[in-house]
């Protein structure tokens, strides 16, 4: 699979200080952001950023293009919303339900989809996710077109009131950081190394005795579970779960975020998500329909800068100087 553009984590021997500074500055920015920006907007951004990062675990680091990730995102939103609203679970357990549900869904869809490769894989995930969409449309617990509404945010660990938007923001930020840390750990683990080897040369990995299917399925389920984390949190932020989050347009959106930010870069999807979410927010109050812009950005990205924003930066002169140069 050559979809990933050989962009990788910044090389390890180059100045780690620069990266530490960047990381610290980024964290500080996120901690202070609610002072300058509208918290709900920031929370939405973080949810989508985590979604895109989880998606990128599959596309960027395993080389699998899933066109059905909305099923996990929206599915988890439904599961969490239902668990919190109908069963009265506290938020942390509600999110856990969402994550487990998404992982389970990922296991089923993944099991079927990994039987084919490349384009077929993409089409099958798309079709299966669409099937899940129709399921959600008709299932009782999703409340059809209305969605599950007025989901209480509840109290985290029983005492932190999440209806306060500041509390909620730092909770979302915490989940985001944990999620990204998990992804980072997976990528930089012995398992991650095998994923990478599958991406680089699947046949060789098979000939070395790796049951490539199982690895792909494992990566698929992990990506689905982390996507579920993002979806579950989103349901609490907006206090509802709707069909929007399981529609195929949502699957397209997360691909766009990842592509725009930089496939196979850890923080690229964060930038991609930021841009897309901002764009949507801005265009919602303008005359121009958002789909045209989305479509055009897609085309331009694919034709002109497949590395994405962060990938292009890593590859630029400044990026190289700072030690972010990609390997080949």
């Amino acid at each position: 699979m050559t979809l990933t553009l050989d962009i990788d984590k910044p090389s390890e021997k180059k100045p780690a200080i620069v990266q530490t500074i960047f990381l610290a500055a980024g964290l500080a920015l996120l901690v202070l952001a609610p002072l300058f920006f509208y918290p709900v907007f920031l929370m939405k951004l973080l949810c989508f950023a985590l979604f895109a990062c989880a998606f990128n675990l599959l596309l960027g680091y395993t080389g699998l293009l899933s066109f059905g990730h909305a099923a996990f995102f929206g599915g988890a939103a439904y599961f969490t919303a239902h668990a919190v609203k109908e069963w009265g679970l506290p938020p942390e357990l509600g999110i856990l339900v969402g994550v487990m549900g998404a992982a389970f869904l990922g296991a089923i869809i993944g099991f079927l989809a990994i039987r084919r490769q490349g384009i077929y894989f993409a089409m099958i995930t798309l079709a299966l996710a669409q099937m899940f969409y129709f399921f959600c449309l008709q299932a009782e617990f999703t409340k059809g077109e209305d969605g599950i509404q007025s989901v209480p945010r509840g109290h985290l660990f029983g005492f932190i009131d999440l209806s306060q938007s500041t509390n909620m923001y730092y909770f979302v930020l915490g989940v985001f950081i944990i999620g990204v840390a998990i992804i980072w750990r997976i990528i930089h683990s012995p398992f991650g190394m095998i994923l990478k080897s599958i991406r680089e040369n699947e046949t060789r990995a098979v000939s070395l005795g790796y049951s490539v299917r199982n690895y792909k399925l494992a990566a698929f389920v992990m990506s689905a579970a982390l996507t579920g984390l993002a979806g579950g949190v989103k349901a609490l932020v907006f206090q509802f779960a709707t069909l929007t989050d399981v529609s195929w347009q949502m699957s397209g959106e997360v691909i766009l975020m990842t592509l725009l930010g930089g496939i196979g870069t850890l923080i690229g999807p964060l930038f991609g998500a930021g841009l897309v979410v901002t764009l949507q927010n801005y265009l919602a109050t303008s005359e121009f329909p958002v789909t045209i812009i989305t479509g055009l950005v897609f085309m331009v990205c694919v034709l002109l800068f497949r590395r994405g924003i962060v990938g292009e930066f890593y590859n630029s002169r400044l990026g190289r100087k700072l030690g972010f140069e990609h390997r080949h």
Binding site: R185, S189, P190, S197, E200, V206, G209
Partner: protein, 260 residues
């Protein structure tokens, strides 16, 4: 058959065998009725003109392709319907005609990918990369034994073609296979590499079976105990190098292409 039985009682036993192997692509039969016995501690060469079906036979034996007919036995077990990765785990490991390395990984990591498989590290997604440190010594040993120590930290894609082939052999050996299938291991190599790789293969074959496709007939003549000649998907001749090269049909098949 009797010969094979006798050998099984004596020193070199048959570890990999194919009976009546056949593969069709649409209406075209690429491999037809191939019987093959690969012996332990022997180097077995598979030669033949281009398009004779050598690589197809390799793909069939390693299960990357499903045979249309026939059976394959590995270490006494029928593997005709087995998945390729399972076959590899049983100890049948192959290299590829076009060098198969993980291009954006370092030489060290290429070898470590192979080394982690038998000890279960590969599934540990929660451990840091330093969990692999225990494998480094063994990896370095392998790298040194194939003469890649200078390139240890280089990225595989940066290696010359010949060096990539060497690296591929190193990763293959890292799995300590029982049967080694090498698809043109010497193709595109410089002279000194050819000598070194031949030496590695000779040493490796002391303890395991090697089946190789090779065009370099001088290598075949010095290295291989047994030669099978393939033409248009069928076996043309079999025997040791002297017998085979004396066969007039083989001479005809090779005439104009290579000096026998």
């Amino acid at each position: 058959m009797t010969a094979a039985l006798k050998e099984q009682n004596g020193a070199p036993r048959v570890v990999l065998s194919a009976r009546g192997l056949r593969r069709d692509f649409g209406g075209f039969t690429a491999v037809n009725n191939v019987n093959l016995d690969v012996h332990d501690a022997r180097v077995h060469a598979l030669i033949g003109p281009n398009g004779a079906g050598k690589t197809t036979v390799f793909n069939l034996l390693t299960k990357f392709l499903q045979p249309t007919g026939g059976t394959i036995t590995l270490l006494g077990e029928d593997i005709t319907r087995m998945a390729p990765d399972k076959v590899a785990r049983m100890g049948l490991v192959r290299s590829f005609q076009i060098s198969a390395v993980f291009p954006h990984m370092s030489v060290l990591d290429n070898v470590r990918v192979a080394l982690q498989r038998p000890n279960g590290l590969a599934t540990q997604f929660w451990k840091p990369m330093s969990a692999l440190d225990g494998l480094t010594a063994k990896a370095d040993h392998l790298i040194r034994s194939v003469g890649l120590d200078k390139e240890r930290n280089a990225v595989a894609a940066d290696l010359s073609y010949g060096r990539k082939r060497v690296l591929e052999i190193a990763t293959t050996l890292a799995l300590e296979p029982k049967v080694l299938l090498l698809d043109e291991p010497m193709a595109g190599m410089g002279h000194e590499d050819v000598g070194m790789v031949a030496e590695i293969i000779r040493e490796v074959a002391l303890k395991r079976a090697v089946l190789m496709v090779e065009h370099n007939l001088s290598v075949v003549s010095t290295l291989c105990h047994h030669v099978t000649v393939l033409q248009r998907g069928e076996i043309l001749a079999e025997g040791d190098y002297a017998e085979v090269s004396a066969d007039p049909r083989v001479r005809t098949a090779y005439m104009g292409t290579e000096e026998v």
